[in-house]
Symmetry: C2
Subunit: 349 residues, 2 copies
DNA sequence: GTGAAAGCGCTAACAT
DNA sequence: ATGTTAGCGCTTTCAC
């Protein structure tokens, strides 16, 4: 180990060069692992590097190389487990390839999303993994297109004509939820979600509806969708129950909806699964710890991140195939929050 | 708006200069807002910038300026609400000052923590906000010291002789929890946490213990601390209850401990607050939604982030005062998970 | 095998 | 008020 004091200026490649008695170009070659350097000189360089504690300045290096080894990641938020895990995974895949991940939060704002994207473009990132606030047809994707940026879209997307997309297979997972609920004799089910604008939300709803109706044509499916605002959803849900509606199960299409549903159940003194069943899209650590444990659709974060990065690096390497839309299979974890209405309560007529 | 196509090379300052018929230096001045440029030329520059869609390359700019407008943030994880909120806040404070935040996860590994720090040093970040895996005396802080980096330590720290520190006032919050529990007639309380190594863990435990004993000298406080591993804690907790121990309340010193406690209660069929009361350090969104809602100590994330950034920028600006250790007051939210043993169960002898 | 020279995109002195 | 020059720290021809 080199012993160095606190200091202002770090040793540059020239410092190493003069200590080793060679030119900066040679040092550069040694650092890059070029084999055509005379072993003796290489060793002198290595020693000088060690002695001075020299490390390449990645930014200066990238400046010269024209393509920067930085990947940008834009998430709608950092506060949820899902996106937290996503960033962790993306970071780790980026590092495996010698890139640095720079993550930013659009805080659910499309305006901010585009600003951040512009900043990433200024940074000349090699590529961007964008989890759009709404879907693939937002201003951010348009910006990327217009500026010839290379990127991959994830999460709230289904497919795009310019970029590869990777997301959870919402429709299949929802169909499986439908099979489970129908199989447990639920015939009046409420689906809650955000506005139908999001393509994935629609896929979840339709996947559920189609499967449920195929299995039980007599099933009644109510839908409460709110416009992009959780508090609105809460109000609408309250209204819905206030009208006397009494579904035997609720399927929430997104995490916060599950929280809202739970809290509305609580407000009314209903317990799962005896009074009502609950399944949510998106898992969270606490869901298996509460009583009852909450049934959930688990998104394959690692696979999404992995395939997104794979696709991105293929594009960075110059791949020119038409965009691919990937759907990763989810797991449906049936937990205690789902019961059978025939067992626990008088069947509603 | 400028209309540009997808393209390989973005316009550089020289492109703007030649279009505007001035030198690059003049363009640079206009971009920097220097007022000594002839208005007519300034306008020509502005027009050219608009036309070409020119934007400064921040990395090239920083390279020349010697000090980079990048702040590094190192968190132990991204998956929890707390650190997610922290990153969001830090990002926003950094942007307010024209800096970009580059966040990285040490994934609870001290080795990785130091590696990341070294990478941030390579990047010549202006400063680092470090939430250390263990505490202020780890290898990361030592690395920062040895390399003369400027930084601020947050979260799992109490004070340091080289860096400013900002964290939640664990001891006071725990004392308040003690007052609440003692006031509700709890006289046998179990405290669960991770190894006493973490200074903040110790502060939480001691703050609790001291306050509880001062109010009720006869109180029995059991402590189950595990060595940095949540599964170990689970096993120890299981053993503890298996021995027949029957505290009336549990105080968890950290979030995952609260989850573990809850799941162990479930395993034994105990419900809060009738069978046992529960308070946890660290709040989470789900805690107010489950039944019962879980009482929690809420950390002032925004204040911690804000003061950390304030301190950091003061140091970046050259402040040389001795390090300051800040403690931010928490809020204790008593929710339904806390009851009174005298009301709900035979008092244990 | 190696180094001199050029230059990535920018800014800061210093002339003018 | 402006342009010229000289780099920031690095990599990359391209002669030698």
């Amino acid at each position: 180990m080199a012993h160095r004091q606190a200091q202002q200026r770090r040793p540059s490649i020239h410092d190493v060069a003069s200590r080793a008695g060679v030119s900066a170009a040679t040092v550069s070659k040694v650092m890059a692992g070029v084999t055509t350097v005379k072993p003796e000189n290489a060793q002198r360089v290595i020693d000088a590097v060690e002695l001075l504690g020299y490390r390449i300045d990645p930014l200066a290096s990238d400046l010269r190389r024209a393509k920067r080894r930085i990947i940008g990641a834009i998430m709608p938020e950092f506060e949820s487990e899902f996106f937290g895990q996503m960033v962790t995974q993306l970071e780790s895949f980026a590092e495996q390839r010698g890139y640095t991940l720079v993550a930013a939060s659009s805080r659910e704002s499309e305006a901010r999303e585009t600003e951040i994207l512009a900043r990433m473009h200024d940074w000349r990132v090699a590529g961007v993994v964008l989890a759009p606030v709404r879907n693939e047809h937002g201003p951010a994707a348009a910006f990327m297109k217009a500026n010839g940026m290379t990127g991959v879209l994830i999460d709230r997307v289904l497919s795009d004509d310019a970029f590869d997309t990777v997301s959870a297979d919402s429709a299949s997972a929802s169909a499986e939820v439908a099979r489970e609920l129908i199989g447990k004799d639920h015939r009046h089910i409420l689906v809650v979600g955000l506005s139908e604008q999001a393509a994935t939300g629609r896929a979840r709803l339709e996947g559920f509806r189609a499967a449920a109706r195929a299995l039980a044509p007599d099933v009644r499916i109510d839908v409460v969708l709110a416009e992009a605002d959780v508090e609105t959803l809460r109000a609408q849900l309250r209204d819905y129950f206030a009208k006397g509606e009494r579904p035997t199960a609720v399927y929430s299409l997104f995490l916060k909806g599950t929280l809202v549903a739970l809290s509305e159940f609580r407000r009314r003194g209903w317990h799962c699964p005896d009074d009502i069943s609950l399944v949510g899209f998106d898992d969270a650590e606490w869901m298996q710890v509460t009583w009852p444990a909450i049934a959930a659709v688990v998104q394959p974060v690692r696979q999404i991140a992995g395939h997104a990065m794979e696709a991105l690096f293929a594009r960075i390497a110059g791949g020119e195939e038409p965009p691919i839309a990937r759907l990763e299979p989810c797991k449906v974890l049936m937990r205690e929050s789902v019961g059978s209405p025939s067992l626990s309560q008088p069947k509603p007529t």
